[in-house]
Assembly symmetry: D2
Homo-oligomer: 405 residues x 4
């Protein structure tokens, strides 16, 4: 057992991290600093303080990170139109680097020499926490109890809790939530249990943030988003800060049944896993961002971004937010957003996000005079197309003459 | 004016290509072969025969290409999860290479030395037709009347028609359809006129193939698609040939308001253009294919495909179906589909295509025993994750030790 | 013939551009501004002034652009380790954007409404000049005489020259140089004539800048290059400005027979073409830059650069220096160079550039303690490799268990 | 200690693997099968048989894999012009998958349930052996003694050997070779000791396969290589099988001082490492293959290959030969080679491989009539270039008009 003096623990106040807190105290005989973050998961944080105090924790951090989370992590990611494996909006992945950063900052502030988290040994989150932590402090020690201890079953965990006087809520005694969940301002996710059969439909009562499309209003709702440098800055004409804006989009999307996803994805640690996600605001943002880019980005810049996007998405999914290659890509992506200004109008209706209009007073590259079917005035001379095609065809004609098929 | 003896004309029987037919006869003093294809556009073809006869055309080809179109063009494209600029399913693009191929075949059969088409000089379709034609016959002459003649306005075209006794339907006299449309079994598209302002919402009565989500049934409908080697082969247990299957998906999608798209896209010839599309069956197929791949494809193979997809999509959009680089990519894509067998269940509801289950008896790589949260038996040892993370972090730790930020 | 008032001509003072000058005056009845640039081609520029005066040109620009050329074009390109089609160092390509920029600047200064150049209609240079010019001034008119006039053979050109009193040097009368050449501080190129048979070896007396390896000194010479932010800044301890440094590398490389290349390349306009190149200094720079990056760049950043390099190279080869996608890539590339500081030692010997040592006091990521075979102290624990391999193998093990081959 | 019955050991007969053999017998109390392969490393294999017998090994495999190695591993890799990090020809990497395959085959033949190898815990080779083994047999057990035992220093290893009566040659007692070496028909590599300072030049007497350029013949030698489907099949008109051909290229290259490389590379396990390599035949093959492709491959196919090459190279370097994504890429690469037929002429001289000519009777796409500067007959009309440039410039002109810089 490595020699550890003070551990900063990512502490939710829930059963699992409470057991970890106690287990760390017993096993490592070390001081614990708890860190609880509000990233929009929608839970009271003060109970975490009370619980930590009961364990004798003296240094307790409770931070509201919502604005930082959306402004410095969610928005930069959405500038790239990021989607993992064609579908997943990376709601869990994007929150981990921020937690890693705060754990390392708090370790420095408190003189901690180790950090700890409650992620299991089979998932992606352990990788995301730890890659971030190592990148930010190469000397940090990391304790991942799920990879160390022998409390791998639910029963053992509960037994440990009871043995050590850790309060266990009724729901846990009754088997707990049937899902492993994670929530933040961008999304809520469900994994495990009933979902482990990818052939079976998820149960309707699992979903928490969105109504079903069936129960969404019969009346569509229009929404205008204004963009500045690729980020949404106002809804229906009302300027908002990042976290407030995303919260409002979540409200609207949730009301209209938008942003549910049922997916089998490939984890970085090598297995396939089935997850269900609700990302109401993010689903709207992705559509909107593509729409504003469609009139403001140069074609080849847009295609370059599309070509790089899967790589960027994998970097975030795999936990490389703090890696130099992610930063290099971000520099390129951010550079392209200088002209992504304007507005997009969408219609929200029973699960649908329908773009119906987009414009940019300052940065539109759409030129109706050139695109029109009607005449040939101005910059475009239809005869040019003949030469364009001829030269683009030349290599294929030479090959065909040479007998290639 | 180049010396031309016999021209094979892609002839729809409509006003524009009828004017072209007459114009070719007059201008080039050459024989005309008409070629009219049924690729599922949903129009009667026999009138085209009658009209061609009236122009004195002796060689008239009317082909049903629906099965070939879906089997050899649409399905291979969907194996790649192809989407242009994040949204567009390439409904128009994918039909052009087939038309080009038939034009060249008919030219060979009839001794024609030229082909002609009705695509304008500002669009992508001229490029697609002509790149395909040149690739398949490097000596072919190509006549693109819209790039040559002086009938560039609607008025001039109508005047020419009346002057030459070409029947003009009432709708044309009244200004014609407000849109430029293109249809085949995969989609119907709308461009021009009212759509040339990308800020304005498309009018509801424009859409032809789908009901609006609002008017779709209040009752969701479940659909099972069975896949073999990456292609859909049965719906709800009923085996179908390619064209029949896509037609049925169109019917289902159209009924449920699925597959509308309103987009500003970047044309190969250099301008932005606003198009609206209905691709009901294709929208369902894309979702379904990704879902069956999610449990049958290896992660890195799937990511390789994702990385190459935008390039493949651009090749098809730009008209390079018959180019050697498209064929090389297709060889890779098709190779990956050998294991893409199984079924996907979806729920269709008011514009939504919701994947609710997927499985493969023969080829699933989903292993619930490994993914489970519950235990650590078998192939996965949680302790391995520590070393995995440590070595993946090593380069970043070395950099951090060296003072990099 | 388009209406043109004043044309800025890229004027070398040689026969071809002198004929163009006269032809422009006669054909367009317009005023001519000549622009002659010293980009290190190694020719006297004052004769161009005299010749231009004789044609009655009143506005004559003769600019020394060597420092700007190397600093703002050559060096940024080498930061990317740019090589086209695995071999070509882009010596011609990288000079064209600078000429295009100056042509447009001079047009603005002199009130010119058109530019003209002497590139033929079959090559890449016309594309590079004109794409650059259009990107910098979308209203500019461009006159490419080789695409317009009927002087397409050598004989006709000479006849025109004699007819109009343009002095023709003896060498031209005798058939001229057997090669089409282009030179600047980065390279000299040869195309055409004797080289049009790619099976035949180039003649030894063609090469101008380098001795043959056989005639190079029998004694090797060591060279130290110091890098700052990815650019070479000193040779053998002596700080130099960009142009001076490249000139000195050319001298050293030329002396040691370094940098010859005989290549068949693919032109942007669609055909294959055989070219021979001498790039002595550039060949040394490429080797040196890769070597300094090898100890200062993070692995994944280096691989990202390698993945993007062919695309970046094609952009430059095809003339897209001034395009937004090239700029976006440059932003990424330049960002990665902040740590590329240190020195590289090379041995120059009869055509070989042999890297023998490299180090960086401030930015080395090479850590002998970790790489050593001898022990296991510090950051690296050999046992970690087991977990690393196990998880990387997991997806393949699952597939093998499922019967995949 | 996992339960193991019979271990197949990759056995060279040298000191390290002899110690491993003994250590496995003692530690695991299991039966050992030795496997010794001739992949062209240039050592006697029969002594390995004698030594294995002395340890009581009953099942001894000694295989000549040279032809399979070159034909099925080296040649497929060279079809892709594979180079890792711009320089390294992957000589070690490409041999490991074959060894892994034979280990698994022999385990199956002999009823072995484990394999073992002598690669250390800090290098790439452990990864390559083990990823291959797991991919081919997901149930195999793998013993990597260097990651398990406590013999991590040279002294401990020697002490163990003497203690167990393992013969130690004089060179080992005197400190052994100063380098860690690996050899096969493609290359010989050197790492460690004196090379661990990347600033210091490698000693001349380290190199074993090539003379120094200085000592190479003063007379150049010409060499013709004939290619079929992308593979070399004859030298100077003499057909040869794969292994014979590569051996002859090694002889020629070694004689002329060709193929030395001194490199700092990035290992998959996360650290930088300095290696020196001699790859005489491979260096010639790479140059030759690019040359024959230059006249036979379509431009866009060649560029697609160039874009994918770094990824393919990383896969091989990292040990993913047997992974499905490598196979998918190989399918694409092999498909492109159908037309790569013809010959290349090179000049070998004091470290230089100079391509001087190339041709293909059946598959050349080089068309001198099109490329010529002289006239405009045939397929190419110079006027087409105007339209080509205009449309390629259009998006940039629109942007410039809109005020973009």
């Amino acid at each position: 057992m490595s020699n550890v003096n003070k551990v900063v623990l990512a502490y939710s106040g829930g059963l699992d991290t409470s057991v970890i807190l106690k287990w760390l105290q017993d096993t490592y005989q070390c001081e614990i600093v708890t860190f609880t973050a509000d990233i929009g998961q929608g839970e009271e944080l003060e109970p975490a303080r009370e619980k930590a105090k009961k364990f004798g924790v003296k240094e307790i951090y409770i931070d509201d990170l919502k604005e930082e989370f959306v402004r410095d992590f969610v928005f930069p990611m959405f500038r790239a139109n990021t989607v993992y494996e064609g579908e997943y909006l990376l709601g869990t992945s994007i929150a981990r680097p921020l937690i890693a950063k705060r754990l390392i900052e708090i370790a420095r502030e408190t003189g901690g020499d180790a950090i700890s988290h409650g992620a299991t040994g089979k998932g992606n989150d352990q990788v995301r926490f730890e890659l971030g932590a190592y990148a930010l402090n190469p000397e940090i020690k990391i304790i991942a109890p799920w990879r160390e201890w022998d409390l791998l079953s639910r029963e053992k965990l509960l037994a440990y809790a009871e043995r050590h006087g850790i309060p266990v809520e009724m729901k846990h005694k009754q088997g707990g939530s049937p899902y492993s969940m994670d929530a933040n301002l961008l999304h809520i996710s469900y994994e495990g249990r009933h979902l482990e059969n990818p052939a079976a439909e998820a149960e309707e009562d699992m979903w928490r943030w969105t109504v079903s499309p069936e129960k969404a209003p019969d009346q569509a709702e229009y929404l205008d988003i204004e963009y500045a440098n690729g980020d949404p800055v106002a809804l229906n004409g009302k300027p908002m800060k990042a976290a407030e804006l995303l919260a409002e989009l979540n409200r609207l999307g949730g009301k209209h049944g938008i942003g549910r996803l049922d997916l089998v994805e490939n984890r970085y640690v090598g297995m396939k896993s089935r997850g269900c996600y609700e990302t109401p605001g993010g689903t709207i943002m992705l559509k909107g961002h593509r729409a504003i880019e469609s009139i403001t980005l140069d074609r080849e810049v847009a295609h370059l971004k599309d070509d790089l996007m899967p790589r960027y998405a994998s970097l975030i999914y795999n936990g490389y937010w703090w890696a130099p290659e992610r930063k290099a890509l971000q520099v390129l992506i951010d550079h392209t957003q200088a002209h992504v200004n304007g507005w997009v109008r969408m219609k929200l209706y029973k699960g649908n996000v329908i773009v119906v209009g987009r414009d940019s007073k300052t940065d539109s590259l759409f030129d109706a005079n050139i695109a029109t079917f009607e005449d040939d005035a101005g910059a475009y001379n239809q005869a040019d197309a003949g030469g364009f095609i001829k030269l683009n065809a030349l290599r294929m004609r030479i090959a065909a003459k040479a007998g290639r098929k």
